[in-house]
Amino acid sequence: MNGVIQLAYFGVAVVFILGLKAMSSPVTARKGIVWAGYAMIAATLITFYTPGMQNYGLMITAIVLGGGVAWWSGRVVKMTDMPQMVAIYNGMGGGAAAAIAALEFARGGAHGVTATTLAVLGALIGSVAFSGSCIAFAKLQGIMTKAWRLPQQNLVNIVLAAVAVLLGLAIIVTETPPSAIVIAFFVVALALGVILTSPIGGADMPVVISLLNAFTGLAVGFEGYVLGNPALIVAGIVVGASGTLLTQLMAKAMNRPIKNVIFTPITGAAAGGGEAIEGSMKELSALDAASVMRYASKVVIVPGYGMAVAGAQHKVWEMAQLLEEGGVEVLFAIHPVAGRMPGHMNVLLAEAGVPYDKIFDMEEINSDFPQVDVALVIGANDVVNPVARTDKSSPIYGMPILNVDMAQNVIVVKRGQGAGYSGIENALFFRDNCRMLYGSAQQIIGEVITHVKALEV
């Protein structure tokens, strides 16, 4: 039986890798997750046949409860709230890895220095992923609104990490550690996750979630070694590596090195600086906006998180279809960090029914902007701010942006005057080719639609 189980785990590991591979192309992505899902069911079922196991009643209860709650919450959550759900499910995985280590310590299951060391490492990383993800969830869900920083934050982080490592060493050295040490170790590790994540602001959140996802992968891989389970090792380490790469890609897109995200978060105080901007903001009406776009030949829509919050993506797509019927070419341009995670905006547009071949990445479309008649910016701000290209003293200098300022006309839909998420004034709004269309996205695009329809007659 053991041989069969091991063989099944091997197959599961292969399918997971194939599934991840399939998930990296839009054509096969759906198949990828379904394959991986079957593999997960197979792995779970075959595990029941592991020789010498007890406590089946408790086990099944835990699976039904945990799986049921998560299944239900994942079904009912709104698409805009997806990022925090990913964060919380990830945190649970980290917590599970940490709990596995805790149980191994409690029953003296980890033997030898290598196994104990990896158990401790997995427990530390898993605990940080757990408590850190809970904070990330609380922030994105709006439960925790303030990013607080301790005085000497970085010193506190280092001291806590050092204490956790020392306690971990104590566990490794003593082989059968007293429970006081184990408990202290977990308390410090969990506190470290909280304190590391708390000062990090909204815009850096995706990078943190991705990093914690990679952490959980590593923790799972390490605990896999402790349990002698290659499926856990392979799946965990594959996720650890791909998660690290994904984190780097995101951090690069935001021009925020990972160490800056963690050690020097952008806060209100740090967002000062930058040169004063000359010129004034110029307003236009929904009617003018409608006619400018209706008689354009190429319109590029740049959606930001503001559009998603307003739930305006359906209206925007309705308007785009209307313009297309009139012979206007309409495309969508997406900044890598539009929304709250890379690719999040694509998901939201896809939900509204926008086909993905109308959606373009920053690199694909940036050189086209001089040939664009109208760039319509909806609820995006920092990612179209030209000071990132021009003003070396600005905190966002060097961040890759969508070059909408190079379009013939720019229309910015915005709720009112004021700076963006990072608190930086947007030089784009003061340009001669830029007009402001004030109002909530949902309602103002509705008005534009009415006017475009009127122009058809």
Binding site: S24, A29, A99, I100, N213, A235, I237, L245, V347
Partner: protein
């Protein structure tokens, strides 16, 4: 398992993880993060094994094991549902709209 064998597995798995997603388009970053989040939900299997070997007479062990399985199952189930919902929405004009 031999420590050195495990080291090789770690190394090869790390390269695999890096290679498998190295050519992913930006539009799939979020679903892929969610998908990889689901894959490490296999921690459920490990949690089941440790709970299965916990001492039935020791409530502390049973409680920790229960928490491990509960969290692992939530990771797997939630990760699957969320990823599947996101990916179900990807369609091209030619690929048949709903």
């Amino acid at each position: 398992m031999e420590g050195i064998t495990a080291l090789y597995i770690f190394m090869l798995a790390a390269f695999t993880g890096y290679e498998v997603i190295s050519r992913v388009p930006v539009i799939l970053h979020t679903p892929l993060m969610s998908g990889s989040n689901f894959v490490h939900g296999v921690v459920l299997v490990g949690a089941m094994v440790v709970l299965g070997h916990a001492d039935p007479a020791d409530p502390t062990q049973l409680a920790i094991g229960f928490v491990a399985v509960f969290l692992g199952a939530a990771n797997a189930a939630g990760g699957y549902v969320v990823t599947e919902r996101m990916l179900a929405m990807f369609k091209s004009k030619s690929g048949g709209a709903q």
